[in-house]
């Protein structure tokens, strides 16, 4: 079996043995369900734009909880010594762990599929924007997770890892606000939440996809570099 998958499998098992995965999923479903009820059912709308936007905001807060243990815990427990001395490369370790967190994200999103199904049951559903909305949230979630795994590689303290991750994610989302301060119209392209509004409206630009893929790659690369540079 491929080493990346071996690492990912162990990591996923460890998510679901501890309460972490269940709590994160439960919180995500509670909050997104609340926003779904408010903006779709209660308001009598059939569009899900706002729900996707709210999901990404919830992910901002939940991502640090998902990723904080990924590397920090291995450092603390000393299990990282096993990985460093095993015939497995650091890139494989990092990708495996990242994949596990992406799996958890995917599970969270799949569990919200009843939302559009309910809409489809009562009215004419427009599946295009729904599909794009999910793709957008997934892409943004993956970006947040890549920031999180980097945050986790910086320390052996999970609380610090979570704090660093949240700061990083918040900055990514809020970079558009700087526009008002320093001017220029390019920062808004970088701002994650502004992009999401486009996704939710059903506009999926290849420029955006490339931008997120670039961010994800950069953070995963930084994580590998960081662990190569400082082994303890």
């Amino acid at each position: 079996m491929n080493k990346i998958l071996i690492i990912a499998k162990r990591e996923i098992a460890s998510y679901f043995v501890s309460p972490v995965a269940y709590i994160v999923i439960a919180v995500f479903l509670c909050l997104s369900g609340y926003f779904y009820y408010g903006s779709v059912i209660f308001a009598g709308q059939s569009g899900m734009e706002e729900v996707f936007y709210d999901m990404s905001v919830i992910l901002m807060f939940l991502t640090p909880l998902i990723t904080m243990r990924l590397i920090a815990e291995e450092k603390k427990l000393g299990t990282i010594e096993l990985l460093y001395t095993a015939p497995v490369s650091l890139s494989e370790v990092i990708l495996g762990k990242y994949l596990a967190s992406v799996f958890l994200l995917a599970a969270m999103l799949v569990l919200t599929f009843p939302y559009p199904l309910v809409v489809a049951f009562y009215s004419q559903a427009d599946w295009g924007p729904v599909f794009l909305g999910y793709a957008g949230v997934f892409l943004i979630g993956m970006t947040f997770l890549s920031v999180g795994i980097f945050g986790s590689s910086l320390t052996e303290n999970q609380v610090i890892a979570a704090a660093v991750t949240f700061t990083g994610i918040f900055f990514l989302c809020a970079v558009g606000w700087l526009e008002a301060l320093i001017g220029g119209k390019y920062l808004i392209y970088l701002s994650v939440l502004d992009n999401l509004e486009d996704f939710a409206r059903g506009v999926l630009d290849t420029k955006n996809i490339a931008f997120y893929a670039g961010l994800i790659f950069t953070f995963l690369w930084l994580t590998v570099r960081r662990l190569e540079w400082k082994r303890w």
Binding site: K3, R10, V17, L77, G78, T79, T85, A86
Partner: protein, 244 residues
């Protein structure tokens, strides 16, 4: 036969401190070598370089003829390593943990379960094999970590203080286990307990301030210092340096 570990001019610096200072040595196949030295002498650092945990600043280490940093995949498969702090995932059962280690060490699927079964048997873990590692006593945890090192049936075993934290009965059992496991294998172990080293090992390597002071057979050393206790040899060789 021949040499399984060849280290040449190995230096490891942490900041300006030379934890290991241009050390050269060889370990012959089938030997049980004790690595001795005061705390902070560089034992763990040296072991971490042999096992590929981190690279030296200069010098080369070859295990089984392969440079551990140029070709880590090939070299690491043949090394079993028991680190000082036990690398256990608390939530995983002993069997699941060994399966994981077997998988990353590329043990073929057909042999995997037989290897796990044999290792569990030889380390005496049958009764706890389904329990999560975090719930085990220190002695069992130590054995799980040892089982992890043995799972790939490696040619070279590197054991960093294998009897640390065990009760007297477990210490005796672990010693017997190491002796029994040695057989064809080469074992490099570090320890603070000198009688233990003289009981298990044929050869000792004494390290202090990052330098190897002596490498010799235990009997030869005792003859040289005309004593029958390894302690005397150790004290005379190391205190000279620490009081400088």
């Amino acid at each position: 036969m021949g040499q399984i570990v060849i280290a040449e001019n190995v230096t490891k610096k942490f900041g300006s401190v030379r934890a290991v200072d241009s050390v050269s040595f060889t370990i012959n196949r089938g030997e049980i070598v004790g690595l001795l030295g005061p705390n902070g002498a560089g034992k763990t650092t040296l072991m971490r370089m042999i096992t590929g945990f981190f690279p030296p600043n200069s010098g080369t280490i070859r295990v089984n003829g392969t440079d551990i940093f140029e070709n880590p995949y090939a070299a690491k498969k043949n090394i079993g390593y028991l680190p000082e702090s036990l690398p256990l995932y608390n939530e995983m059962s002993v069997t699941a943990y060994l399966e994981f280690v077997a998988a990353i060490k590329e043990i073929p699927y057909e042999e995997k379960y037989e290897r796990i079964y044999e290792t569990i048997k030889s380390t005496g873990l049958e009764e706890v094999s389904r329990k999560p590692a975090g719930r085990l006593s220190r002695g069992f945890k130590q054995r799980v970590a040892l089982a992890q090192a043995l799972i790939s049936d490696p040619d070279l075993l590197v054991l960093d203080e294998p009897t640390r934290g065990l009760d007297p009965k477990q210490i005796v059992e672990t010693r017997e286990l190491i002796k029994r496991l040695a057989g064809e294998r080469t074992v490099l172990l570090s320890s603070h307990i000198l009688p233990e080293v003289s009981m298990i090992c044929q050869k000792v390597m004494i390290i202090d301030h990052g330098k190897i002071i002596t490498v010799d057979g235990i009997d030869e050393l005792m003859k040289k210092f005309s004593t029958d206790r390894l302690e005397d040899v150790f004290m005379r060789l190391t205190t000279r340096e620490t009081h400088e």
